[in-house]
Symmetry: C2
């Protein structure tokens, strides 16, 4: 079990992308609340087509309004054009998605996995910091099983190109055993991006932590999911992971009470309760007489 995690908050991007568009000032208020809660890595925007993903419009305007204070700001870019827009806006930490599932890749970005990987490596060659997110790494809604060695081969190419790797359970089909099967080949120097479609996100995170994984993507409230993957389900909720880590004595740097305020804010902004059960029930640290 690691002593500390590096949590990348993806709520302003993955969390909001399937929602009705919010005003830039509301997105910035949310981002400020998350930074204020102690999140040091935040995926704030995506440089994607506003026609395809209306909620991600005005990325440059959001970037221009980001607060200072030592946060590493990330932007998702789908292609070389998006990387150029991110560079122009001054973002130098990029996430690029490559789907291990051929069918998912064709449906989502109209490219084969090999073509998508070439595009990612082109971006990695030019940008200062690129994290390649390998989607459907634990299974595909179209092909079912994904061979762990296919994941490992793609991960190796990313690393050879100087990029870091995050494995995404895009549609929530991972289990502790699948996590183990993949980590056995890929190692623990990866990030995990988990979705809770089948209620397994937290147990998957725990099993991965036991194997030494210390880098996670999470979204405040447990919002999110691809607008292009039906039934993707929300992300692992940031507050659920922090709640668990606080009790395990694993440092995240996040203040859970401040984070729950940010969770309440995003619930107001999207106009409904968020999926996180810690947000709904309150953390165990609020029990009378609790030691925290």
């Amino acid at each position: 079990m690691p002593t500390a995690l590096r949590v990348r908050e993806v709520g302003p991007r993955d969390g909001l992308q399937p929602e009705a568009p919010l005003a830039v000032r509301d997105r910035l208020e949310l981002i400020g609340a998350l930074a204020g809660a102690g999140l040091h890595d935040i995926e704030a925007v995506a440089f994607v087509s506003p026609r395809a993903v209306p909620a991600m419009a005005d990325a440059a305007e959001v970037v221009a309004g980001l607060p200072g204070g030592g946060v590493t700001w990330w932007a998702l870019v789908p292609n070389v054009k998006g990387a150029a827009l991110a560079a122009a806006a001054g973002v130098d930490h990029l996430t690029v998605t490559v789907s291990v599932s051929e069918t998912y890749s064709m449906r989502n970005v109209g490219m084969t996995t090999a073509e998508s990987m070439e595009a990612a490596l082109t971006i990695a060659a030019a940008a200062p910091t690129v994290d390649v997110v390998l989607s459907c790494a634990f299974g595909s809604p179209y092909e079912g099983e994904i061979a762990p060695d296919a994941v490992a081969r793609l991960a190796e190419r990313c690393r050879d190109a100087g990029a870091s790797v995050t494995l995404a359970d895009t549609t929530g089909v991972a289990t502790p055993r699948r996590i183990a099967d993949v980590l056995d080949l890929v190692g623990d120097q990866i990030g995990l991006h988990l979705h809770d479609t089948r209620g397994t996100a937290l147990v998957n995170a725990y099993a991965a932590m036991e194997r030494g994984v210390s880098r996670f993507d999470t979204a405040v409230g447990g919002l999110g999911g691809s607008p292009f993957a039906a039934g993707a389900g929300g992300n692992l909720a940031t507050e659920d992971l922090v709640h668990l880590c606080d009790d395990l004595g694993v440092t995240t740097g996040v203040d859970l009470d401040a984070l729950l305020d940010a969770s309440a804010l995003v619930a107001r902004l999207v106009g409904r309760a968020v999926p996180s059960r810690v947000a709904a029930a309150g953390p165990r640290s609020r029990l009378a007489g609790s030691d925290g």
Copy 2:
């Protein structure tokens, strides 16, 4: 990690007790579906006051209609009178709840923990098989922390009296660390009865399995919760645990597809979607090309 679990289905009791009362024939249809799915231990009824818990009325009538076929039928009894009613109905496997939380005990049954334990031991002395369920074993909504050695002392008294012990996380405040703290003192020869109030039921079950626990209470659909404990949250869903175990290669004896049919039945009976996310999203074994 155990190779097999003994799963006690408590849906017909804990799952239905906070719901509007169902007809006896509907309760029996549900019980039959659960038995048909391979659940070999089923808590079918509670011999409690029908004024206090209307959904648990007509216990003797339900017992009279139970199917044959090698299932161990359990009944919850709150006191000696309930134990007598269970015996008269022909049920010889009893669960008796004793709350480790003094305040919870006083509010729930009007007895101190010591008085409640005396009543349980009186029942254990007379009935063939008694499982004492120690509620609030990982924390109390009123007192917060519960000392693990208080749990251990009560567990020892139960075992000395020939009863088995189940530890209940009545309001969903357990975490893997709390589980470990208690199991360090109580050992792994206990059952666990987990609630998912804070989304931690499955990770708690996994952490307990890693420590050798092989006996679990679950409720189909993840329904349930004490009608006397506000915000108790539903039980660990049977299908969520079976889904995890199937993938881990841990035997439960339960057919997940048949169980999901029972889950769909209980959703129809209570008139709304159940909390289980596996029930909502379908198991990963239904992915195209899955190996199961």
